[in-house]
Amino acid sequence: MIDDIETILDKHISFNNLDNCVLRWNNKRSEWSLKSFTQMFDEVLNKEEKTFGSRVSDAFHLHGSSTLSKGGANLATKPLHEFSGNTILSQQLDGLTSYQFLNSANDDGVNSIISSIVHNYNYQDKQFDVECSDGYIDNVEQTFQEFYAGKMAGQDPTAIFPTNDDKKRNLIRKHVYTDAIMREERLRAGRNNVISRALALSPGMSFSSKGGTHRDAGDFVIISGEDANSGKRFAQVMYGEWLMTNVVHVFMFDREDYSNTITCIKPHTYGKV
């Protein structure tokens, strides 16, 4: 049965925004949920009310991450100042002192984040289709920006989506076949597959903190810090909203200790780099 469910899920595309969806059993609400990534990103910020949305479950303060920036001793105000995310109060948040940060790997970018040309044969109409437009790397990047990065905080939030001339000229590309008849259904094999990989292969971070039962994979954490205003590329990536993809809760009853190990990804910078 589980294979059948995953097979249908592999063909599923969101009705609202044609994005990929996540099927989860939510043990806290005792209900099943099927939600698109776009919808999850929609719930991070209430841009009109200038507040964090229901998807944000936690915030951490990054202490002394690097040498002082051109912002000097001033307290950082970007990118979350309008959401009160980087204020004097944010220094009182749980500290993030030790973490592992990984950029997206070149190999992954070359093999996975490339144009996909989708082929299909409709046996009923006896017609071949070859679709290049939806899966063309520039169009996928634009969709990625629209689905995820554009919804985040900052003056000009920008998708982290590695492309180059070879990709743009389709010198690097892949061909895929799908049996889906409708054009929207064929997106799953082409465009959405690349989007899914680009999201999963975004810059990632892993860290441990004191435990909290409220932390769930699929929620977002906010990273704030003194260096957020520096304008450095790293600061543009590091600070802001991170999507938690993996949360490990470790209850050590013999040591009276409870910790979380959190892995999260961030598919955008809060300004153009």
Binding site: M1, I5, N27, S30, T245, N246, H249
Partner: protein, 214 residues
């Protein structure tokens, strides 16, 4: 607010109510917290269900020897229950972990839909490690969600035509119509398949913003 329950403990200066119950068709026993060394919960966005690991101090085979006793008002033992593992391929572990305030459970400070953990895990494998000392042993139970277990084990008869039939009642005979009329949105299909597969074992409820798919 309720009083602080007996099965509470303090982790990182925060108080939690913790309950581990082993269940099979014949018996259920609450594990004393003193036996439990660690509980690890893995929650991955790309997995439908959480998985877990329970690590128990099993020195002197304490778990196998453990029996839960029931006393009457005169403190006389009237019942003793011990747990027989794998008598029916249906060993489950119910886990409840609830953060509480110094005064007890408080739904305002810790809203249950955000903080309460409640799982029914299937114990699908176990390992035991011996230490240097003669009787010191550690047992590890590997856990997956009971719903996942049910979905892994069971095979059912299902087709999208059943979901169509459920949606429109018996207004058309689905065996006499084209494939197009027997098709259904993937979101509806997932919903119907999950409900059909689990309906006799677990309560099934779906989020209001369930995506119906194209």
């Amino acid at each position: 607010m309720k009083d602080i329950p007996d099965n509470s403990c303090i982790l990182n200066d925060n108080r939690y109510t913790v309950k581990f119950t082993l269940i099979n068709t014949n018996t259920s026993i609450d594990l004393p917290l003193g036996l439990v060394k660690q509980f690890v919960l893995y929650d991955n966005l790309y997995s439908i269900f959480q998985t877990g690991k329970l690590i128990i101090d099993n020195s002197g085979s304490s778990l196998e020897n453990f029996s839960s006793t029931e006393m009457n008002e005169l403190r006389e033992q009237i019942n003793s229950v011990s747990y027989a593992f794998n008598s029916d391929n249906n060993d489950y572990l119910e886990v409840k972990i609830i953060p509480i305030t110094p005064k007890g459970e408080d739904a305002v400070t810790f809203p249950p839909e955000i903080f309460n953990m409640h799982f029914v895990f299937s114990v699908y494998a176990e390992e035991e490690y011996t230490a240097n000392k003669a009787n010191d042993k550690t047992k590890v139970f590997y856990l997956r969600d009971g719903r996942a277990e049910k979905l892994l084990r069971s095979n059912i008869e299902w087709s999208t035509s059943l979901a169509v039939q459920r949606q429109i009642g018996h207004k058309i005979n689905v065996s006499q119509v084209s494939n197009k009329l027997r098709s259904i949105h993937t979101g509806y299909a997932l919903k119907h398949l999950i409900a059909t597969a689990l309906q006799n074992s677990y309560p099934v409820s779906f989020a209001n913003d369930w995506d119906i798919g194209i």
